[in-house]
Amino acid sequence: MELSGYSYPNDFFIDWSLMIVLYPYITGFVAGAFIVSSFYHVFERNELEPVGKLSLLCSFAFLLSAGLPLLNHLGHPERALNIFLTPNFSSAMSGFGFVYTFYLIVMELELWLVYREYIVETARRSRGWKRRAFKWLSLGVYDLSPESREVDRKAIRVLAAIGIPAACILHGYVGFLFGALKSNPWWSTPLMPVIFLFSAVVSGIALLIVIYQTDRKIHGMRIDQECVASLSRWLWLFMIVTVSLEILEIITLAYEQSEAWEIIGALLTTKLSFSFISVQMILGSLVPFVLLMVVVLMNSYLHEKVRNTLAFIAAALLLIQVFAMRWNVVIGGQMFSKSFSGFRQYQPEFFEKEGILAAIVIMIAPFLLLHLLNIIFPAFSDREEAEKGAIAAPK
């Protein structure tokens, strides 16, 4: 049966816009960066110590920004709290508020414990408003005895351990939102939450490589090679799993020659040929796969600069890959009408409410937050020491 190109009349408009592409992109960073922090705190991968605090701050900054694209998308943002007032528990989306709140609490507790020592010392060292602020942040607990620090360490470990399934739920549920809709064959697969989760970890690790290296470069500090090598290894592993799952899903559909393939095959070769085949699969997957393979397999032969550069480029490309994946899922799934025969176009405009400018502003927000958080709670203790050293040196 040939496709006639017929769309249902209500299907002329793509309702889930660029904002809904950003939402899983941002929550992906939350889950991914948190899992990296757990590699350090729970699984004691000590080579990740340089990004231990950074990963937590990153995760927190993105978590605080996760609601922005949703609020901008809602027809009635002023009613957003209805989701807490009358949650309809048969809807996956109703869980969002609760999962989000739970995660926020876990992260705040963990951050506080990780920075408790710093908070107490800053409160003691400083004067004026800074002293007052940090006294307030310490919640009146000034005990820094070895015993109390040991309790802190254990509590951090427990929280980080709770955070892992919480991160999986937070992002797995985002995948479930799409994967559990039988109306859309491009979304409806049990693999969807798994793909989302693994790609979230990929984006989290990639983001940390990029931010860590950038920050070190800006401040002229040495990039820890053990850390970069380890992050690259994890990144390689998780990207292989993610891309395998992504390809597996499509190969199964194509091989089954299911009814859905009629429209999805056409979708992939026409509307998504650039963003899926060129960007997501070749530029975003194949190229970083090769680059990271070099970093991982030839690790001992690589010069520092080569390792840093290869890891940085691979990470940056994977950030694009994950964005392309979100785009291809969210927008791709709406590019065909539910009549499964007609296509429609989506081209976000620059100035519209849910357009490119809004997306840029929303994507800047977590980085701005991260910068502010980093001023209050430094992610790198060595930088502060180095700055102190520089001030102290002339004396």
């Binding site: 027809g75 989701i83 996956a92």
Partner: protein
């Protein structure tokens, strides 16, 4: 709702109320089901629990005039580019090629169009919300703004809907849309405001050939109830198991 709109709606309902009085004659002439014979009596004693509405569409009768789409837009103030109901034209070749179109939802009828093949069969398929019993749209609404009335009508509370659009994605039939004026999910209500007065949905009343029929499964001897029980009826996309309350006669395998 502002004052002008409220006044307009009042006017509209009183206008249709007047029409309803003459309804009996028209509907009987056209061979359709007549629920409005004793509309005033029904309105006073309306109890939602006593009804279970069903919709039946005979595709063999539809002539594609688009009166139903027009009536719906007038009755429910449907925004210009959206549709609570629409009509599709199917043309199918002997080899099974399918050509579907629905210019402006069929609202202005169907201009002649040449298919790239010899048409073996052609027909119109009116569509609307199927008011499914196991509906994915109610299932996915995060705030419970979408709900079933006791009569089996699927409705949206536009005072509570947050406009997330999840239900629009979940409906496999393309029956829902985000209303650009209210920013809420919008859909066919089977003209619930008319049903409680004992009137028929506007689209059913407007259909000149009785292709659209409306009935009550809880009423003994109801023609639609009998039609569903005795004829060979189909629903749209039955494999999705949404259990539509909208039944079709003369549906073809090419229908999406």
């Amino acid at each position: 709702m502002n004052k002008d709109r409220r006044r307009f709606l009042k006017l509209l309902t009183s206008y249709f109320g007047l029409l309803a009085a003459k309804d009996g004659v028209y509907v009987r002439l056209l061979g359709g089901e007549n629920l409005s014979q004793d509309s005033t009596a029904d309105a006073e004693a309306y109890n939602p629990e006593d009804h279970l509405y069903a919709y039946a569409i005979d595709t063999r009768k539809c002539i594609g005039c688009g009166m139903c789409v027009k009536a719906d837009r007038l009755e429910n103030k449907v925004p210009p580019k959206n549709f609570r109901t629409w009509v599709e034209r199917y043309r199918i070749s002997e080899a099974g090629d399918v050509d579907i179109d629905s210019p402006s939802g069929g609202e202005n009828g169907f201009p002649p169009r040449v298919s790239g093949f010899n048409v073996a069969k052609a027909f119109f398929v009116p569509k609307l919300c199927n008011h499914c019993r196991h509906t994915p749209c109610i299932q996915v609404c995060p705030v419970g703004a979408s709900f079933h009335t006791p009569e089996g009508v699927v409705m949206v509370d536009s005072g509570w809907c947050i406009g997330c659009g999840y239900c629009v994605q979940a409906c496999p039939y393309g029956s829902r849309f985000i209303n650009p004026e209210t920013h809420c999910a919008d859909k066919c209500t089977l003209c619930y405001h008319r049903l409680v007065k004992g009137l028929q949905p506007a689209c059913v009343q407007a259909c000149p050939v009785g292709a659209r029929q409306f009935g009550d499964l809880k009423r003994a001897g109801d023609p639609v109830r009998q039609l569903i029980a005795r004829e060979r009826v189909m629903v749209l996309q039955p494999t999705l198991l949404t259990k539509p309350n909208c039944y079709y006669l003369g549906l073809d395998q090419g229908v999406r």
